[in-house]
């Protein structure tokens, strides 16, 4: 159990962060708070993906050190570089995150223009 805790703590950390964001998305009544929760939620998912790319001790940034590295040398050195694929995916996910953020904030401003408040309870009263 202790061993598994040691091996998996990183996954569980991301799950904890994600649940904080998830709870804020559902339970908070202020719309900006919901968007903050959304941001936390999505970046925790990105943290999970990044943690799949880690390769133990000694693995470093996936930028080939020797710009003239031969094919064979690269094959030998695979363990020295972390896994680049999740990084690529998460670059995409970060951009998607900020795009969603922009649209959500625009809609929140639109709501504030119509109802004069951002609180869900007050909006349902003023409808």
């Amino acid at each position: 159990m202790i061993a598994s805790l040691f091996h998996y703590y990183n996954y569980w950390m991301f799950i904890g962060l994600m649940m904080i964001g998830f709870y804020a998305m559902m339970a908070k009544r202020n719309l900006i708070k919901k968007i903050i929760g959304m941001n936390i939620f999505q970046s925790a998912i990105i943290l999970f993906f990044i943690s799949t790319s880690v390769k133990g001790k000694g693995a470093s940034v996936p930028i080939l050190r020797d710009a003239h590295e031969t094919h064979e040398a690269a094959t030998l050195n695979i363990m020295q570089y972390t896994n680049p694929l999740p990084h690529v995916l998460m670059l995409t996910a970060i951009v998607v995150m900020v795009a969603t953020l922009g649209v959500a904030l625009a809609v929140a401003i639109l709501i504030h223009r119509r109802y004069g408040t951002l609180d869900e309870n007050e909006i349902s009263l003023r409808r």
């Binding site: 940034v61 930028i63 710009a67 970060i94 951009v95 922009g102 904030l105 625009a106 401003i109 223009r113």
Partner: protein, 147 residues
């Protein structure tokens, strides 16, 4: 409406810092091959330069360099560069986004052609991201005024 900052130090320093921010953004875009960075990061840094210009010099001054309309055009052009490079590869007889085909056009070997293709794509991405970030920023910050 964003007025210009009333602190003369901030205003002047931000103004003279702006070209350096832009050149740093372009550096990040162009050196994505060798160091961390690339179109998105560079584009966002470029956009951050305009954000700095707006919050220090006021929105009127910024409009001389980047207005909502210009940003709209630039974003379309940036994305057209990306999609157009892909389509160019298609026209040259390869698969979509197969930059290796550009080697016939540029008279270089395949890996270099791919590297140049990546550079072109990154420039397109940077233009698009910069313009769109400016659009979002302007629309949110100028939300209560008429155009």
């Amino acid at each position: 409406m964003i007025q210009k900052s009333d602190d003369v130090i901030v205003r002047t320093v931000a103004r003279s810092l702006m070209p350096f921010i832009l050149i740093y953004g372009l550096y990040v875009v162009m050196h994505g091959h060798y160091s961390p960075g690339g179109g998105f990061q560079g584009g966002v840094i470029l956009a951050a330069g305009f954000v700095l210009l707006t919050v220090t010099q006021g929105i009127e001054r910024t409009r001389q360099h980047m207005s909502q309309k210009t940003a709209c055009v630039i974003s379309s052009v940036g994305l057209l560069i990306y999609a157009g490079i892909g389509a160019l590869c298609l026209i040259l007889g390869g698969r979509y986004l197969d930059y290796g085909r550009l080697s016939q056009l540029l008279q270089v070997d395949q890996p270099t052609a791919r590297s140049l293709g990546i550079l072109g794509v990154e420039i397109g991405v940077a233009l698009g991201v910069m313009a769109v970030m400016c659009i979002i920023f302007f629309s949110i910050f100028a939300a209560d005024e008429t155009e």
